[in-house]
Symmetry: C2
Subunit: 602 residues, 2 copies
Amino acid sequence: MNTSVATVCLSGGLVEKIHACAEAGFDGVEIMDADLVAAPESPEEIRALCDRLGLRIDLFQPFRDAEGVDDATFADTLRRAGAKFDVMERLGADHMLVCSNVATATTGDEDVTAGQLAALADLAAERGIRIAYEALAWGRFVDDYRVAWRIVEKADRPNLGLCLDSFHILSRGHDPSAIEEIPGEQIFFLQLADAPALDMDVLQWSRHHRLFPGEGDFDLTGFLGHVLRAGYRGPLSLEVFNDTFRQTDVVRTAAHARRSLTWLADRTATENGWSGARIREAQHVTGIDFVEVAGADLRDVDEVLGQLGFAFRGRHRSKPVRLWTAGETRIVLDEQDRAERPRLSGIGLTVGDARAASERAAQLGAPAAYRRTYRGEVELRAVSAPDGTGIYWNDRDPEGSWIREFDGGDAHAGFTSRVDHVNLSYAWQEFDEAVLFMSSVVGLGARQAAEVPGPRGLVRSQVMRSSDGVVRFPMNLAPPTAPVPDRHVAIRVDDAVAVARRARERGLRFLPIPDNAYDDLRARFALDAPFLDTLRELGLLYDRDADGEFIHFYTPTIGGLFIEVVERRGAYDGYGAPGAPVRLQAQRQLARTRQRWTEGAA
Amino acid sequence: MNTSVATVCLSGGLVEKIHACAEAGFDGVEIMDADLVAAPESPEEIRALCDRLGLRIDLFQPFRDAEGVDDATFADTLRRAGAKFDVMERLGADHMLVCSNVATATTGDEDVTAGQLAALADLAAERGIRIAYEALAWGRFVDDYRVAWRIVEKADRPNLGLCLDSFHILSRGHDPSAIEEIPGEQIFFLQLADAPALDMDVLQWSRHHRLFPGEGDFDLTGFLGHVLRAGYRGPLSLEVFNDTFRQTDVVRTAAHARRSLTWLADRTATENGWSGARIREAQHVTGIDFVEVAGADLRDVDEVLGQLGFAFRGRHRSKPVRLWTAGETRIVLDEQDRAERPRLSGIGLTVGDARAASERAAQLGAPAAYRRTYRGEVELRAVSAPDGTGIYWNDRDPEGSWIREFDGGDAHAGFTSRVDHVNLSYAWQEFDEAVLFMSSVVGLGARQAAEVPGPRGLVRSQVMRSSDGVVRFPMNLAPPTAPVPDRHVAIRVDDAVAVARRARERGLRFLPIPDNAYDDLRARFALDAPFLDTLRELGLLYDRDADGEFIHFYTPTIGGLFIEVVERRGAYDGYGAPGAPVRLQAQRQLARTRQRWTEGAA
């Protein structure tokens, strides 16, 4: 598989972009004309840089408004093209993208358009240049790849072929299966972009909301299958216009982009039963082995876990690490960290083959995470997620493996539980990358995103989960100017009321839930008075839908982390979203009160 | 005019929102149910707070999915409503918004819906509550105010009327003129929101992109005219769901919201020739009197102005302020500022009646700007724009007024010029407020926005200008994570080539324009070789369209400011947008180089 990427996907200057593409392992780049125009380096210098870095220049793009025009305008098309061919020659680029006319076309007569493209191709042929003709989704007359192909066939020039772009085809809902009827060698170039399913103007959608493959709602594996079955063997290239990626760090975004292609090629090969482009298979995640909390001083977390009724299982024999468990929930407290603010630092996943999982992660470009391990201790394979969270894989029984390294505790918790979900949160510019990481490296699937109103704007939430729902990561995206929301671990118990009552008796402070929220529960659900009183007395939240019921409560936040206890009744499959605004407001209120106390004390 | 605002427009907790609404001068609020549910204060406490602050609670909202349902569901509607009426009674709210059913409706039979609304109104009547029924643009069966009105008429209850929301009507393109056929007293409530013309899903459009009146593309003055002609005399209320306003400072956003209503009421009265709700008339701005640059040390600006050929007109007789002019361009350098980074700090505008202009600004809530003035000096009236820039009004000849306070300079510049435009720039969350300020306080009109690709993402640019084009402020909005772009003053000269050549001779450094940009100009415009050579030699940029030509160049940035020199040929009316990406990239390159030098020196 040859990979390429359009420089327009990335932020910064052309030279920075090229370095980042090489570092991310791309084989080639599409040079965007505007990027070159704004660069202080000459085309010869850009060419030399790409040569030195081992990057091909796969495409020079775009050349606009070429065809379907009157004779005078077409004469100027040829003049303009000649000047750009000069640049391409200096650059050493031999493919030019010509996109269908948006602005100046006066005719949709396919014979005229074909004739003009043939003339343009003939001019290009003198320079050894090939023309890849692309139907833009919003082209004036040509807005469908099937029309573009008819025109290319009519023009009948050996150096004139098609450029296919998944966005232009799938955004319009055009059936991509007809791609298989095009001879593969006539497809000169392939541009790939995913996108969320949005109902909006297609040009705005394209300009702002494209995503890398695996991050949106397009069936890109199906699309790529058609293109490869047609016999296309050129590069898989990314052309993703996205407001976020244009702003984020260029090196990081290039690596992110490259990962999406590895994932796409593998997934396409898997779905079609092909042997090429395969990496190690994704391991089905069968459970959460543990969650790890790190910080310089985690005594507050110890206290909360004790009050909740977790069992203290002891200290690690060689590291300042402690373990608390309650049934299958295992929380590791790691004080090998300098951060004052405790944070969720790692998630252990149970898989069938830990080695295969970590090899797949490496193939997808995930950096290995360092974890200090002494002789005789269990070595867990781990990688760093893009936000720095460690992802660990374990294929052994935890009681028989790493738990043995902890001594001095007690095995009996006050209740059994397991991790229901881990709520992750991201800054605005980290979100799409995190979604791709969770789908490609961890093998989770994305559910429909929702929006929750918070006191600082709408929080977008997207659940990534294993197909059987055993592993669930609701992922939250804060509004740009709001602080990144705290993360939390939700544990599922059989009887949340009992756990809450015991925890209160042990002195646990709960997140205070306003009285108004209970009046609202009464209005919405006609709960019977004793049950409503219990909820109110214990500060529990409640939700109900057609599938079942959800009872839950929250601890106050410690650093950047809190714990939620949930009980699911019936087949309730949600996360208590109606209570989220109440929770967010209560957390904000508490944080402000604390801040005032701190300021008062200072 | 009574004014009101929905708490959902603002960020923060309910008590903060209420305080901000009172401070901004609203007469009442719409309490959003979800805001109350999440508040720790009881309804009685919220009521007491509003009483104390002199705010009416105009509306409790929304009550959803009430009508068009089967009998069992409707029984639950009445039960739910009863519980919410309890809350309203405690709150002292006597109007409930009931919006058309989105989720649970099973019938569009208007008799059924009317019967259910009548029953709901009867239950409300027992509590002294009035029901305002609203057709949501995406209602399941009722999505048009004319249908809602038919149903209300059918239900025929004295305490059942309509709530009209400009967004739900104008977003669907429904003709608002039929509002005049509704008796005014049957319109129980009016919600106003503007929005940009977007082609997208109406629910998403409504949820994320509403704007305050005067900031979008809706004809709200026409809309309000219909409602007032119908005889509506209730409050003008704002219901604006907007991702930005939900994040920005609540006090500032409330003031911003309040200004939009003053503007709207005044404008509507003006357009209809009514006497009510009028404030001082907007003054037509006939020119830029001066621009002011502030900073602790402005010697670098002196140097650049001198090299450009400006005349040094002298020092102010009582303040550390200097004046440079070139024809009608007057640049005031004010060193009464502690900022190390020179910045554009003020804009003087020429108007017919400065007192009227400043009175209008005060009526629109713009704070007066402080300007030290000694006896015998000309006092210019001024207000602060939301970003802190001073806006000054002068209705006298500058040579005969404030310029006389400067001595010791020379009157002769190397060229004549005038300010062509002042390019302003804003952080993401300041933009809409700035647009409203420029339209309402300064009286400029908005042109279609454009997007310019920069190295850190797309820069959104919207030109605000006087109808005759004499005053032009292109306003730029940076992407959220990018730094706010530098501002610049563009001066228009008769012969940019001559000015550039003389400035070079005087040693002015130009913003370096890459060679590739000239190859691109050659390709695009077929310029003749000598002219292209001149552009290249002098580092000038060029644009051409059907109306004329544009030749321009930039000085390097000093602090947060640079100067552009432009020549317009023919009727060219743009700003050289095709050159903006080149300029942005060149500025970034230069800033990085400087940073490296600074770091190297440190």
